[in-house]
Symmetry: C2
Subunit: 407 residues, 2 copies
């Protein structure tokens, strides 16, 4: 039994046109009109596949395929939102392979023992509303519903208002419910599978992640008549933080990655000394202890840079997710499915956060990775060969089927 | 004979309310609705003072007080646009002291030999449309009218379209015409007058200025699963440029000032490695040769930083203004006026560009500085004591009167 590669490819093409960028990527920020159109497309095809569709208070969409018995379901899911000028594989591929699994079950007229439910999570990326994975975070009880509702985007627009505006403020409580397994197929977003010529990564867990925000208050002044000796330039201090954060990764080494991804300057004009800079610091490592070592180094880098320039600052380590191991029985089932499908695979860790991380806190979870060309993602050049996608989707189909048949 | 301090102060209060920020500063970007309201206020009071008001093709506003003879006029001017969260003295003070000079001539029923004309220049700051001083640049024949018209702001809006929209696309040709002198009163924007306890700076010239723009093209990728070894981070390279540009000022020393005032990151989200960074480099020195030495150092800083990170870049030194000496006879007349008014003064150079710079290319020009508290400007904290403003305005009145009476 296999999934239908052609049908999956057609769905990828169709959904990929919603929010498509001129250079073939995707900009489908959470809760925008394009996100709504993407959701509408999914809901229509979920209904067409016979699923019973519901929406919860965080806008998460569920499509249930009934099972023979009233047992906790097998969940398959991912997200349809993207980063700005992102790609057509991150998120989208997971929900479409989930949909294809449902369709393949229908093709083969299989009545599973347990229900099989497709889930689409709201605002996984964290590109528009922070933090990322906010909706699975609420479901896992890690983020209060009210806090999530009051999160605002860069223009000050409230998440709850946007949910309502696009018609996806559902009534189902966004709470943990029993499930047999949560399965998420996703692109690796790193170079390993491609480098090793493999189709599938059996994901054993997700690295620990830490997010910090730093605001530096310098003294805004004219770039001409202000002598160097009296300057307090927020951007000069910020630049030293950027290079210092990079240096921490090299000093600690191993698998630690550190990134300053966001940096905004105020007033941001050619002839004014920057009065204020805000920036983000993202650090990840498989070991929690590595982040415990890295965070005080960040404190020191920031303190030294700001003291040197004579500027004030606020530094907040506001989000921390520990290393998340996936459920051994789910990981084992994924590995069996890959083997049964004759797919070249390896066990691997995820360097990116996924909704599977929060789902692992409330039930057995696991993930299936497919390769990212050049290790690239969160960019328009994201690409995964269709052969690998087919192998990944078949693996998802087989593992969902095995788990859904378990008593 | 003196200007009317109370009347001048009232005008400062009234015009200062247009575009006022909550913290008492000013945001009145060129050709916005607030700029239009500021212009309308000026035009109404120029007409009330009996001036004949005309507007040229660049939106520059002229208010002529007729002279007894048909000789080239004495011009007094500055600008009403501001930087974002700027102050209430930069620009505004110059046009209001000019207006007050006209009113004082009226008070004393003085009929000058030459016309005395108040000028308000468009987009002096260069905060919204680049380059700065674009309208006096067109008048001086240094910038083509079509190029100025086609300049776009950060949102892609054309300068000419905004001129038309706010009703200040005039019909008078924006070209050089003979004038006896162009006089501009302005805040110093540096610390010297305050440090030395002086009211007035007799400005001998304006430093040389160089503006460059740099775009760095890295490889946008996910901040999590992308190992440090394969990264090409545009922001890491940019940070090394920022610190390198600062270092150039310290290496060369003297009066050289270097600033990265503008820096924008793309896609600018927490969990993406920056794919693109654009930034500005502003350098100034009294001596042209110092900039000739500094620019190749910028080239090297940029090349080294980008090579280290393995990123592409485009660097353009797109604007250069040489040291501008003011006309000795105008500088001498300003000094005589300061002396005659009993004002504590010194000769000084301007570190900031002003419309006077371009005007000096087409006729005799000079400037009067008043102190900036703490040397601060281009910020909400801009402040000049009213005693100094009164001394500066009286100096402007006396020098305008002397020059307007000359044959």
């Amino acid at each position: 039994m296999r999934i239908d590669r052609k049908r999956l490819e057609r769905s990828m093409d169709d959904l990929g046109r919603i929010g498509e960028t001129p250079r073939g990527g995707l900009t489908r920020l959470a809760l925008t009109d394009d996100d709504r159109r993407g959701r509408d497309w999914m809901v229509a095809h979920m209904r067409e596949a016979g699923l019973r569709v519901t929406v919860d208070q965080m806008g998460n969409i569920f499509g249930e395929r009934a099972g023979a018995e009233a047992l906790p379901p097998v969940l398959m899911g991912s997200h349809v939102d993207s980063v700005p000028t992102g790609g057509k594989y991150d998120g989208q591929l997971g929900v479409l392979c989930g949909l294809e699994t449902i369709r393949a079950l229908n093709d083969h007229r299989i009545r599973t023992r347990r229900p099989v439910t497709l889930v689409i999570f709201t605002n996984e990326e964290g590109a528009r509303f922070q933090p990322a994975m906010i909706a699975s975070g609420v479901m896992a009880g890690k983020i209060a519903l009210e806090d999530a509702y009051n999160t605002r985007d860069a223009d000050g627009i409230r998440l709850a208002d946007e949910l309502e505006r696009i018609g996806y403020l559902g009534s189902e409580p966004c709470v943990a419910r029993p499930f047999r397994a949560y399965l998420e197929l996703h692109i690796e977003q790193g170079p390993i599978l491609e480098e090793e010529g493999l189709s599938v990564g059996v994901v054993e867990g997700i690295v620990a992640i830490s997010w910090s925000r730093l605001t530096i208050h310098g003294v805004q002044d004219h770039a001409g008549p202000t002598p160097m000796r009296i300057r307090h330039d927020a951007l000069v201090a910020a630049a030293q933080v950027v290079t210092g954060v990079r240096r921490i990764a090299h000093e600690i080494g191993g698998d630690l990655v550190t990134t300053v991804g966001r940096l905004t300057v105020s007033p941001n004009i050619v002839n004014a000394i920057p009065g204020k800079v805000a920036l983000s610091i993202d650090m990840r490592d498989p070991k929690n202890e590595t982040l415990d070592r890295a965070l005080p180094l960040v404190d020191r880098v920031v303190r030294d840079a700001c003291e040197r320039e004579g500027v004030r600052y606020e530094l907040e380590h506001y989000w921390r997710v520990p290393f998340t191991p996936f459920a051994p029985d789910v990981v084992g089932a994924v590995e069996r499915a890959a083997k049964a499908g004759g797919v070249r695979y390896r066990r691997i860790l995820s360097g990116a956060g996924h909704d599977a991380q929060y789902m692992a806190a409330i039930g057995p979870a696991g993930m299936i990775f497919v390769p990212s060309r050049g290790g690239r993602s969160h960019c328009e050049e994201e690409f995964t060969p269709m052969d690998d996608i087919e192998n990944g989707a078949n693996t998802l189909f087989l593992v969902a089927l095995e788990l859904a048949e378990q008593a």
